[in-house]
Every structure is written in C-alpha cells, then in structure tokens.
Symmetry: C2
Subunit: 293 residues, 2 copies
C-alpha cells in the first residue's frame, strides 16, 4: 500500500480506480466500503477532514483522528493507495469556486448545517476531478449526502458510478460513526433506541402501512421514550429528490437525526420499492476485525 | 475524423487529449486553437451552444450555426473527434448542480450578463469531467472567461492545463467572433476603431505610461470618435484576480466591450510583465484558410 499526499503522485493512470472518500478515524462501515471497492483494479482511500463542510462552531477542531491506525485498518481491508492530502494541497489558494445543489441542500441536515452540502459537493468534485475514479463508494448512513453526490455526478457528467452501501451497525443496532466515541455512557446506551425505532417503522411497512405521517409518528414515539435523545427531525423522503412523501410509493428513506448529549447522530432506513414489493435492505452487522476498539 | 454525440462514445481513453471547447460557427480564431491542440495525442473539438450561459433576452435563439461547414473546417485544421452533444445529452434532467465563481463573475461581462459565468463554469466543468483532457485551449478574446476557467481548474483540482491563445484578427484588426457576421456595413467599418484604440494604449505603455486611468482614457477617447460604437466598459484589470488596477505593474489586460448596432463586441490587450519588460503579446493575423468567408 502506498501513502501519497498529492494528486500527481496517485499514478493510477490506466487502471480502473475505486474511490472510498473518508474523513479518517475509520470504523467497520468504512472498511466495508473498502472491501466492496476491491471489485475495481485499484482501491484509493482518501483521508481528509474537509474544513469546507464544517460550519462555524461545529466540531472541525476536535473531529477524531488517528492516522496510523487508519493506515493499518485500510491496508488490512484491501486499500492499494491512501490519498492523505494536506489542507494546502487541497486549498492552496483561497477557494473561489463553489459547487452547490441548493434543491438538495436546504432540508434535513442542510437546514441544521447551512453550507454543509456546498462543502461536501465541492470537495467531492475535487476528488473526482483529481483522482478520476470509475466507481466511488458511500455509506447509506449519510443518505442525503448520497443523494447530493449521486445528482452531482449526473449533472456534472463525471463518468463515475456512485455505489451506495449498507449501513454497518454495532451489536445493539447503533449505526457506526466516527462521532460515536464522543457519546457518554448513558447516551451510548440510549442511542440503541434509534435503530429500534426505525425497525418499528420497517415492520409497519412490511405489515402494509404506507402513510408517511403514521410511519414518522411511530419513530417519533419510540424516540420520545428515551429522554436523553432529542430528535431533530424524522422524515420520509424520496431517495433522489429528497421531497417529503405523503405516502411510501417509491424508492425512499426514512431519516432521523437526534442530539445525544451534544453529539449529533444520524440514521435511516431505505425502502427499495419494486412494483408492489418493498425491500428494507440488508441490516449489516459485520464480524468485527477491530476487536474491542 | 469521428463525430460523436455522447460522452461514452469519445473512446479517447489512454490518449493525451487536447480539448477545444466551442459554440460552433468556427472562424480562424477557433482554427488556431485546433492547430495548437495538435501538440496533444488526440484533438477533441466540442461544439455546443450552451443555453446555460445565455440570459433571458440574449441571442441564444439566433446564435449563428453551420454544422456541416464546422465539420469541414475542424477536420482541415486537424481535429480527430468532434463532440457535438444534444441539449438532452448535456442536460437530460433539470440541472440542479451549479458551479460558480462569484468573485470573478460580477464585474465586466458578468455585470452586463448576470448568471453568464455560472453557465460557463458549469458547462466547462461538465466537458472537463466527461472528456478528461490533459490540455484545454481558449482564446484570449474572452479574457474574463479565461480567468474564470483558469481558476476553476485550480480550485476543482482538474489535472488539466489551460492554454490561453492569442486573439486572431481580421485584416483591419477587428477581433474575430462568430457574432461579427451580424454587424451592419457601417458598424463593421466602425468596429476597426476598437483595435486601434487598444493599440494606442499599447504604444503608450511601450512609451512608459503605467497609469491605468490614463491608459483607459486613451482608449475611451479613441472609441468616442466613432459614434456608431457605444462603449460599455474600458478597464485595466489583474489577469487572474480581475481586480481593477491603478497602475500597470503585473500581468493584466485592458478590456473593452462595445455595443455596435445591437451586437456586443469584446476585445482586449494583454500585458505580460516580466521584470521591467512589458510584452504586448502577438497580434496574430493568420493567412486565411477560409477565403472570403
């Protein structure tokens, strides 16, 4: 495995590259993306905590980092190249160019984090332009981000396939996130409720329920039983347009964001609608290669 | 020479591509770019009248077109591939993604044509993303566009070199433009004054003049002597930041826009500052391969 810090050093020319963009502090979710990317001729994992997608007062400064551990884990999972640029490599001059998708950026996470998705769209454009992958892998936990990136590559004609991958969860169902480590003990225990609430909605869908209001209420009620969690939103939206649905009648996801003692947690359940069939997607609980970490 | 209408058909993989983006209705200026691009392994000429960079009330509908003639001329000049996408290929769905560079888009042409450079930046991003050239060729007549594109590729990490090429002029000095054909006889005759006015400023610079106010006034005075031309702006600006200069002390250009009987004409003179030397750039008058056209 090579570790490079400049685009010119990537030297993947001629090989079909699979890109896994990350902000580091890798967990099993990232590793599942890297393993999936092995279907390409070369797997590039980018590690860059992108200042552009953090707002003032957000956690840019204390976003968790452990570069040496990341290298080890990425190599075990099958990465060929780590692209770890400095802020100077990514933003040598003040950035004057912005990539934005206003219609997909104002709702849900975008409502709470103005400018966040402009930052995501801009850095993803840079990675796609500079690395030229044929496929890029994103987790479904950040479902709005996946919709933004999917639209971006179509709109900007990047010849890249965006692969959305299943959420990886802890034993108790909590979606893995680099931010989970900041949870206090009580909040961590309470956070298991989030997935249970989503499962309740999933079961209702399997039982025939299609009304968005009913499904979201089910989730809100379950979350309400855990006083340490403050729900921010519970929404059922079209998976590509992010328009709120009245009825579950198309590919969509039911997304929640909660505040758990100052830590923001996201989760969602995707509904893949094929004719009359609704598939809730896999709930992936991988055998850990991280041990107790 | 191949003519293709979809990105997937380009099949230039592995070859070092030189891209010449045009809106068609080719003239000697375009042909000089195509000839220059022959330094690459494959020359792709794109022909697409981009609706996104025209404002309401602008001349999108009657922008001059002659596709068969364009093919002949491009082939003579050395093009390997013509990329002529339909509007549906470029914009299959409503475009939600925008690329913008506000700091370089609000002045000069941008002041008169709000949204114009967002349209340029977005379509250029699509061409660079979809075609993956190593070099792209632009004429210096559209000097602000060149600054926008140059900044865009740096900011978005495209591994492409932007090559700015000399303005090609008619016998009497008028900068070639697809829009020139719309000039009435009197306006066409009067338009020769534009280059003479810029030359007067160039001579003053060679004579030692460095004050922007004096240089711009020289140009304005010369233009004022031609009553059929209505100057819109005369500005000396930094070639990359587009900031107006007080004194000519860096790479810059003196740009003019005039309205000639409803036809908008642009021209400029570039100053390449090397130490104490100021080079006015070549005034290129090519032997015509177009005959009387």
């Amino acid at each position: 495995m090579r570790v490079v810090s400049r685009f010119e050093e990537l030297a993947t020319e001629g090989r079909e590259v699979g890109l896994v963009p990350t902000m580091g502090y890798l967990h099993e979710g990232h590793l599942s993306l890297i393993e999936r990317a092995a279907e390409c001729e070369a797997v590039v994992v980018s590690i860059f905590v992108n200042p552009l997608q953090f707002g003032p007062g957000e956690d840019l400064g204390d976003y968790p980092r452990d570069f040496e551990r990341d290298l080890e884990l990425a190599e075990q999972a099958g990465a060929d190249v780590i692209f770890a640029p400095s802020a100077e490599e990514m933003y040598p001059e003040p950035l004057l160019t912005r990539v934005s998708i206003p219609d997909l950026s104002h709702q849900m996470e975008g409502r709470m984090r103005p400018g966040h998705f402009d930052g995501v769209a801009t850095v993803v454009t840079k990675l796609l332009a500079g690395i030229r992958p044929r496929r890029a892998y994103f987790g479904r936990k950040d479902a709005q981000q996946l919709a933004v990136v999917g639209r971006l590559v179509k709109d900007l004609s990047f010849p890249v396939t965006i692969v959305g991958c299943p959420i990886v969860r802890d034993q108790d169902g909590l979606a893995l996130s680099s931010r989970n480590r900041r949870l206090g003990g009580k909040e961590r225990a309470a956070a298991a409720v989030i997935f249970k609430a989503l499962q309740a909605a999933g079961k209702a869908v399997i039982g025939g329920e299609r009304e968005a209001g009913v499904l979201c209420q089910l989730v809100s009620d379950s979350l309400g039983a855990a006083p340490l969690l403050k729900p921010d939103y519970v929404e059922l939206v079209d998976a590509t347009s992010l328009q709120p649905l009245v009825e579950l009648d198309r590919p969509s996801f039911l997304a929640v964001a909660v505040n758990a003692g100052g830590v923001r947690l996201l989760d969602n359940i995707h509904f893949f609608v094929e004719g009359e069939m609704i598939d809730l997607g896999r709930v992936l609980s991988r055998p850990s290669i991280l041990g107790a970490a």
